[in-house]
Amino acid sequence: MTRHPRFPDQLARSDRRMFLAAGLAALGLPRIAQAQLAGRPMLKITAPDGTVTELDEEGFARLPWHEVTTHTRWTDGPQQFRGPLLRDVLELAGAGEGVLQGRELRMTAMNEFQVDIPASDAWDFRPILAREMNGRTMRIRDKGPIWLIYPRDDIAALQNPVIDERWIWQLVDITVI
C-alpha cells in the first residue's frame, strides 16, 4: 500500500497569510454547481497496453449494477451500496482476467491518494465501484462519486485492516501496473 501526499509538510507550516491575501481575489467567482462536475469523465482506466478508457456517468450507468450490503470501517451499521463490478469496468477497458494475471491496479483518488491493489481482487472478491450509498448518489462530500466497496460482510477474508486500506473513495483513476 502506498500513500502519496502531494504536498510536503513544510507547506502546512508556512505562513498561511500569504494564501489569504492571494485568495481574496478569487472568491468573487460563483460557486461551481455539482452538475458541472458530472459533465466530466468520472473514471479513467489505463490498460496494460496503454489504452485509456474514460467512463462518464452515462457509460457507468450502462453497465450492470450490483448491490452490496456491508459494514465498513468508517460507518456504523450495515450500509447498502450499488454500482458496477470492478471486474466489469476492467473488462470494458480491455483489461480482462487473463491480461491482468499477476498485475496490480494503482487506484488514485481525487485528493491524489493512491493505493495499489492486486488485480485478482476484482475476480476473487467481486468488489463493486459503488455510485450509490443507501439509495442516494454519492457526492464528492459523501466520498463519491465512486467508492470501491468489497463485500466485507460476506467474505471473512475481507474482514481485516489490510483489505480495509484498499477501500479507496473519490476514485478517479485506475492504472494497471
Binding site: P5, F7, L11, A12, R16, M18, F19, L20, A21, A22, G23, L24, A25, A26, L27, G28, L29, P30, R31, I32, Q36, L37, R73, W74, T75, D76, M110, N111, F113, R139, I140, R141, D142, K143, N160, P161, W169, Q170
Partner: protein, 474 residues
C-alpha cells in the same frame, strides 16, 4: 511428606499455568486492539482533513482568474468529505472517548458556515475576508485535533507497548517457572526411581540371602534330627541289648532262688531260706523292670510307624478292662461306658497300651477297697476315656512333669516303676491327634483323661480345651 511435596509442586505449576494463561489473554487483547487499528486510522483521517484545508487554501491562493477553474469548489467538496468523515461512525466515537468531540463539533460548525458562504458568490471584500478567516479557523481546529490525536495515539501506543512487554515478562516468568518446577519435579521423580531401584535390588539381595540362610538352617536342623534319631536308635538298641543280656542271668538267678525255696528240704536253715526269698523277690523285680524297659523300647520303636485303621474305642476299653479284672480280681472297677460305637482311627496295639497303662496305674497307686471309675463318652466328634482312682494322687508341683520320661512323683518312689509309662501314653495319644490330661489332688486321687478325635475329625478343630475333663468327674 512426599505427598505434601507433590501437592506443593502441583500448586506451583498450576499457578504458573494460571499466570501463563493470564499473560496470554493480555497479549491476545493487545493483539486484537492492534488488529482493529482504529487509533492509527483516526490519526490518518485527521491528518488528511488538515491537509485538505491546506489544499483549499492553496486553491484560494492560486487565484481564480479562470471562472471555469472549479478547483476551489472541488477542494471544498473534498475537505467537506474529510471533515464529515471525522464526525461520523467509529471516528466520532473515538474522538468522543478521547474528549475531542468539542473540537470536531467546532470544525463541523465552521464547515457548515463555509458551505453556507459558498452558496452565494462572495463578491465583497468583507465576505471574502470572512471566508478566509473561517477557513483559517477551521485549519486551526483541525490542526488541534490532529495534534491531540497524534499525542493520544502515541500515548496509547506506548501504553500498549508497556502492556505488551508486561505480558511478555509475565509470559517469560510463567514459562521459566513451569520449566524450573518441571525440572525439579523430574529430578525428584528420577531420584525416587533411583531410590526405588536401589531398594528393590537390596530387597532382592536380602531375599537371596534369606533363602540361603533358611536352606542352611533347614539343613542343620535335618542333620540335628538325624543325629538325634540315630542317638535314639542307639539308646534303644542299647536298652534292648542290655535288657536281653541281663534277662537270661536274672532268669537263672530267679529260677535257682525259686528252686532253692521250693526244694531246699530240711537242710535249709530259716535264715538261708529268708535270704533266698529276698534273692527271689529282687530277681523278680529286676525281671519285671527289664520287661518294662523292653516293652517301652518296643512301643517306642513302633510309635514311629503306627499302623492306622478304624477301631471301636469301646471294644478296646472292654478288652483292657477284662485283662485288668483278670489280673486284679480283688479290685472293684466301676465302668460307665458309652453304649454306641466309638469310632476312632488308630493303632490298636498302641492305644491298648495307653488304656492298660492308665488302668494299671490306677490299680497300682490306689488300694482296695476303693473303687476305680472308668468311663467313655462321645461328645460331638471327641471321644473321651477317663480313669479315676482314689489313690495317693499326684502332688501339685509334680503334675506338670508327670508325663516326662523317667519322671516319677516323689510320693511313689517306694512303689516299683520306671517312669516311662505315662510318657509313652502321652506320645501315643499325641500321635493320634489327641490330648491326655490329669487332674489330681494328693491323698484324694487322680483322674486321667484321654480325648481322641473321632474317625475323620481333629480334636483341636473342635476347640477342645486340653485339660477339660469336667465330664469325667464324679
Amino acid at each position: 511428606m512426599l505427598k505434601q511435596a507433590y501437592a506443593l509442586a502441583a500448586l506451583t505449576v498450576a499457578s504458573f499455568v494460571a499466570l501463563l494463561v493470564y499473560a496470554f489473554l493480555n497479549l491476545v487483547g493487545i493483539q486484537r486492539e492492534l488488529q482493529q487499528e482504529l487509533v492509527d486510522a483516526n490519526l490518518w483521517s485527521t491528518a488528511q482533513a488538515e491537509r485538505e484545508t491546506q489544499q483549499l487554501m492553496i486553491a484560494l491562493a492560486g487565484g481564480f482568474a479562470d471562472p471555469a477553474n472549479n478547483d476551489v469548489s472541488l477542494r471544498f467538496e473534498i475537505l467537506y468529505s474529510r471533515v464529515a468523515l471525522l464526525a461520523e461512525g467509529p471516528q466520532l466515537a473515538y474522538f468522543r472517548s478521547a474528549g475531542f468531540e468539542p473540537v470536531v463539533t467546532e470544525a463541523q460548525r465552521l464547515l457548515a458556515e463555509l458551505d453556507d458562504m459558498l452558496a452565494t458568490p462572495l463578491t465583497d471584500d468583507d465576505s471574502r475576508s470572512r471566508f478566509l478567516q473561517r477557513t483559517a479557523e477551521l485549519a486551526d481546529e483541525l490542526r488541534t485535533l490532529s495534534n491531540a490525536t497524534n499525542l493520544q495515539e502515541r500515548t496509547e501506543r506506548l501504553e500498549r507497548r508497556d502492556g505488551q512487554s508486561d505480558a511478555m515478562r509475565l509470559l517469560l516468568v510463567a514459562v521459566v517457572g513451569i520449566f524450573v518446577t518441571g525440572a525439579l519435579m523430574a529430578g525428584l521423580l528420577l531420584s525416587n526411581i533411583r531410590r526405588l531401584v536401589q531398594a528393590r535390588t537390596e530387597l532382592q539381595r536380602h531375599q537371596a540371602t534369606l533363602e540361603e540362610k533358611i536352606e542352611q538352617r533347614t539343613h542343620a536342623l535335618k542333620e540335628a534330627l538325624e543325629v538325634e534319631r540315630r542317638a535314639k536308635d542307639v539308646y534303644r538298641s542299647f536298652i534292648v541289648t542290655v535288657s536281653h543280656q541281663f534277662r537270661t542271668p536274672v532268669s537263672i538267678i530267679h529260677m535257682i532262688a525259686q528252686r532253692q525255696i521250693r526244694n531246699g528240704g530240711a537242710g535249709m536253715t530259716d535264715d538261708l531260706r529268708r535270704r533266698f526269698v529276698r534273692i527271689f523277690e529282687a530277681a523278680e523285680r529286676l525281671e519285671k523292670l527289664m520287661g518294662a524297659f523292653l516293652d517301652s523300647a518296643r512301643i517306642d520303636g513302633r510309635a514311629g510307624e503306627a499302623s492306622r485303621r478304624d477301631l471301636d474305642l469301646g471294644r478296646l476299653v472292654e478288652d483292657a478292662l477284662d485283662q485288668i479284672r483278670a489280673a486284679h480280681p480283688d479290685r472293684v472297677i466301676l465302668a460307665e461306658l458309652d453304649p454306641g460305637p466309638l469310632k476312632v482311627e488308630g493303632d490298636p496295639v498302641l492305644l491298648e497300651q495307653v488304656l492298660l497303662n492308665l488302668l494299671t496305674n490306677a490299680v497300682k497307686y490306689s488300694s482296695a477297697p476303693a473303687p476305680i471309675h472308668v468311663s467313655t463318652r462321645s461328645q460331638g466328634r471327641i471321644l473321651r476315656f477317663c480313669v479315676r482312682d482314689q489313690g495317693v494322687g499326684v502332688p501339685s508341683d509334680a503334675q506338670l512333669a508327670i508325663f516326662d520320661r523317667f519322671y516319677r512323683a516323689p510320693n511313689v518312689h517306694r512303689l516299683p516303676g520306671v517312669g516311662v509309662g505315662l510318657s509313652l501314653a502321652r506320645d501315643i495319644v499325641v500321635q493320634h491327634g489327641g490330648v491326655i490330661s490329669l487332674t489330681s489332688q494328693e491323698g484324694v486321687g487322680s483322674t486321667f483323661t484321654v480325648a481322641l478325635p473321632g474317625a475323620g475329625g481333629r480334636i483341636y478343630d473342635e476347640g477342645e480345651p486340653a485339660g477339660d475333663n469336667s465330664l469325667c468327674r464324679g
